[in-house]
């Protein structure tokens, strides 16, 4: 088939391709931080260029500059060798640049078609032309394997579907270059496969893709080139064919990293935490937990896997007395603790590492010392009657800071100026110092750099060796596979199945995370 050179320059969506985009010498300063430090980056049509780095390495900031959400302090952007200025997202869209944000930029109360039409010129201005938009959505969906129903409101869609809407939104606007910011963070392994199929189709059609991630195996699977950022600087840029996991991890962290842990066998003890028939409502009043049964034994880590929003947060909150159960019970060493207050549960030897550490784990405006003493400040020797004992407090805090390797200038530093990893270590210090018999850890390493993650994992394994019964709730399947003795999968408020780690396979777990029952998934 012969095509004219003009046609070859066009994507199937009818828009011009971006043959080459280059960012040169980009610098972005935030008050007190140099977030991006003279970074050069480029991407070509028909390739996936991965941007790899830890949280806070500057990946998202760099891409937000490209999408016009931030303005660079220095540096230039060249599109097809021509210098361009991008002052706002509408400039970026006009140039054919699209972005899939980590937190979806969708309006939940609007339908898929309305979300796509938002901000576009209608063919019947000033009236909406949702029928035209819907037809075009269905056409794009067919081309790229992005199944969605244009008439459904977005709040009814699963996370994977929402991401498809985001991609359609970008394609609809003629994105020739698409930035994907941690697109797999919220997907099941099968959904990741579907996404990759779509991305490969787009690359084949001549789109240029930038794939931001901190997951090594994904980057290796999808990209042609990998650029690693650390502390706002480019550490290196390598063709994917020549890259190895260990080498990339070293570049990301700046030192050797343990990619797997040595998990010594521990003989599980008696059942510490027993959950039976537990039901509870979500914030919206819908049923979030629909009869949960789980047991956690002493010296065991039970991993709870699942895509976010399937009841994990509600389960942790009900166990820890922060949300009322509508039915069922929670037993701690045979004693019914359903509906007991967090203070009582603390006394009974239970600890909780909440999912939203800035909201539920610490008080933003308090100092390191104050946050460390949130629970024990009213006990001797830290206070006497109504008076705090500053000396005892200072000593305890100094111990915790040393033992848990919390990097802080001093005890009086406001917690909000610490990094995510250090804040999480502080929460961990406060919760583990009590030597709990039961630990509920919800997303303990989310948004935490690899170094701190490694450290937190070691501490959790240490607790396991000590005989703590740990319920590890995580959306990161790799984390669960690395730490848990048994793995339970939650889907829409129900436990789909529980498997031993030795028997666990990623594919089976992925199917379970999508709601397929264990027996069926295994068979």
């Amino acid at each position: 088939m012969s095509t004219s050179s003009d046609e070859r320059k066009l994507l199937p969506t009818g828009h011009e391709r971006i043959d080459h985009l280059e960012m040169r010498g980009i610098v972005k300063r935030f008050p007190g931080v140099l977030a991006v430090d003279h970074v050069d980056f480029d991407v070509r049509a028909g390739e996936v260029h991965a941007l790899l780095g830890e949280n806070g390495a500057g990946k998202s900031t760099l891409m937000k500059i490209l999408y016009g959400l931030y303005q660079a302090n220095e540096g230039e952007i060249y599109l097809n060798r021509r210098k361009v200025t991008i002052k706002s997202p509408s400039d970026a869209i006009a140039l054919g640049i699209g972005m899939i944000h980590q937190h979806f930029m969708l309006v939940p109360s609007l339908t898929v078609a309305e979300n796509v039409a938002l901000g576009l010129k209608s063919s019947r201005e000033p009236l909406l032309d949702l029928d035209v938009v819907s037809a075009r959505i269905e056409q794009l969906a067919r081309t790229y394997g992005l199944q969605v129903d244009p008439s459904r409101p977005v709040w009814q869609l699963a996370v994977g579907e929402r991401q498809r809407v985001e991609i359609i939104k970008a394609l609809y606007r003629g994105a020739a270059l698409l930035i994907l910011d941690e697109p797999t963070a919220v997907l099941t392994p099968q959904e990741v496969d579907d996404l990759f199929a779509t991305l490969r189709q787009m690359v084949q059609d001549g789109h240029a893709l930038i794939f931001i991630s901190h997951k090594l195996h994904e980057v290796l699977a999808i990209s042609q080139r990998i650029t690693v950022l650390r502390d706002g600087r480019v550490v290196g840029s390598v063709p994917t064919a020549q890259a190895t996991k260990a080498e990339l991890a070293r570049m990301m962290v700046g030192r050797e990293v343990l990619l797997t842990y040595d998990v010594p066998p521990v003989e599980p003890g008696p059942v510490r935490l027993k959950i039976s028939g537990l039901r509870a409502s979500s914030d919206r009043g819908t049923e979030a937990l629909r009869g949960i049964d789980l047991e956690v034994r002493a010296g065991e880590i039970l991993g709870l896997a699942g895509v976010s929003g399937n009841g994990q947060r509600e389960l942790a909150e009900v166990i820890f007395g922060l949300r009322p159960a509508t039915a069922g019970s929670v037993l701690l060493d045979g004693q019914d603790i359903t509906g007991k207050s967090p203070a009582e549960l603390n006394r009974l030897g239970m600890s909780y590492i909440p999912e939203e550490r800035m909201l539920d784990g610490v008080i933003r405006d308090f100092t390191v010392a104050e946050n460390l003493m949130l629970q024990e400040h009213a006990q001797r020797p830290y206070s006497y009657h109504i008076f705090l004992n500053p000396r005892a407090i200072a000593q305890r805090c100094a111990n915790l800071i040393r033992n848990f390797n919390i990097r802080t200038p001093n005890q009086e530093t406001p917690i909000k100026s610490l990094s995510g990893g250090n804040i999480q270590k502080l929460v961990l210090a406060r919760e583990l110092a009590r030597e709990p018999s039961v630990l509920i850890a919800a997303q303990p390493t989310r948004g935490v750099d690899i170094g701190a993650t490694e450290y937190i994992h070691q501490r959790l394994l240490e607790q396991r060796a000590r005989g703590t019964a740990t319920l590890l709730i995580s959306e990161d399947l790799d984390e669960i596979l690395a730490l848990a003795d048994r793995i339970a999968v939650i889907y829409e408020g129900e436990i789909v199945g529980v498997v031993d780690r030795a028997q666990a396979q990623v594919e089976t777990l992925g199917l379970m995370m999508a709601g397929v029952r264990h027996e069926t998934a295994a068979g």
């Binding site: 937000k64 869209i93 930029m105 039409a117 901000g119 909406l128």
Partner: protein, 317 residues
């Protein structure tokens, strides 16, 4: 006894009394749908009420006995202008300066309350001035329908226009690209911004429109319903209008039903008082306000509340 109370004329007055609520609450609906709560409606209403009355008084030729169409048009025009200015000021405060909306609204209310009274004292020396307001317009054919004709189709222009605004509001919000932008900005301004929509521009538009409609609400009191001006003559109707938006779940139709409920109760309590029925005056007079509280407790469906209501928007974290 009930038959005595609920007559066609009472119902007609109920329809009429809904006018200020409708203007103010529909205007507020636009603002809240885009994420801006304007508690200052009452103040804008007072300014609209006074300035439109002043304009009608000023432009009515000396010695005129009936209404003067030109003067009435000037009254409406002045009210629109005043609403435009106060709406823009509200937008500057709430959108550009990102004020705490619960507090800034009270400020706007107090400004309107004080300024309208100050002007009243300066211009009219605080003396009651009556004007010839909008006359009733009997719609041909329709007004001859028995009972219904008297209730619905023998009203004045401002009343008809207020009710016409209900479907217009619904249409603009649900069927136009502008309406889609307004709804998106109120639910998720970050998403709207990422799609290249100017959140500030949309909110300036809705808040200014809300100001214009609030001012017209005031005018509908002073040059269409009672035809006088007194200090604080709105007596909380602007605040009730804000509550009606919640009551109506941010929908034009719900707002209209709310407005009618209140105005009918109002008309009824006036009737109770004029008939001299043995109910203490105070109870009758407080009925609409008690109803506001009860209605808000039971009827508001918060699920539909714009997620970004009262939250100023600024790009970036």
């Amino acid at each position: 006894m009930i038959g005595d109370l609920i007559t066609a004329s009472v119902l007609a007055s109920g329809i009429r009394l809904a006018t200020p609520y409708l203007y103010a609450a529909l205007g507020e609906t636009f603002g809240q749908r885009s994420g801006v709560l304007n508690l200052g409606v009452e103040g804008v209403m007072l300014m609209g009420a006074f300035t439109s009355l002043w304009a009608v008084h000023e432009f009515t030729p000396a010695g005129a006995t009936g209404y003067d169409a030109g003067a009435l048009a000037m009254g409406v025009l002045v009210a629109i202008l005043v609403g435009l200015i106060m709406g823009l000021a509200t937008a500057v405060i709430n959108v550009t300066l990102q004020a705490e909306q619960g507090i800034s609204g009270i400020g706007i209310y107090l400004f309107g309350l004080g300024m309208s009274d100050l002007l009243f004292q300066k211009v009219f020396g605080g003396n009651v001035v009556t004007v010839n307001g909008f006359p009733k317009v009997y719609l041909p054919v329709l007004s001859d329908i028995p009972v219904l004709g008297e209730i619905f189709f023998r009203q004045n222009l401002l009343v008809y226009f207020a009710f016409a605004l209900v479907p217009v509001t619904w249409f603009v919000l649900n069927k136009t690209t502008l309406g889609l932008k307004i709804r998106a900005v109120g639910q998720n301004p970050e998403a709207a911004d990422a799609m290249g929509i100017s959140v500030a521009r949309v909110r300036y538009f809705t808040v200014t429109l809300g100001g214009v409609l609030a001012s017209l609400a005031g005018a509908s009191l002073s040059i269409s319903l009672v035809n006088v001006f007194q200090q604080n003559m709105t007596a909380g109707q602007g605040f009730i209008a804000v509550a009606l938006v919640y009551f109506g779940s941010w929908r034009a139709r719900g707002v209209m039903f709310g407005a009618l409920l209140f105005s009918l109760v109002n008309a009824l309590q006036l009737q109770v008082r004029t008939k001299g029925i043995d109910v203490p005056d105070e109870y009758a007079a407080m009925a609409p306000y008690v109803l506001t509280i009860i209605a808000l407790v039971f009827a508001s469906q918060r699920i539909d509340q714009p997620a970004a209501l009262t939250k100023p928007f600024e790009r970036g974290e």
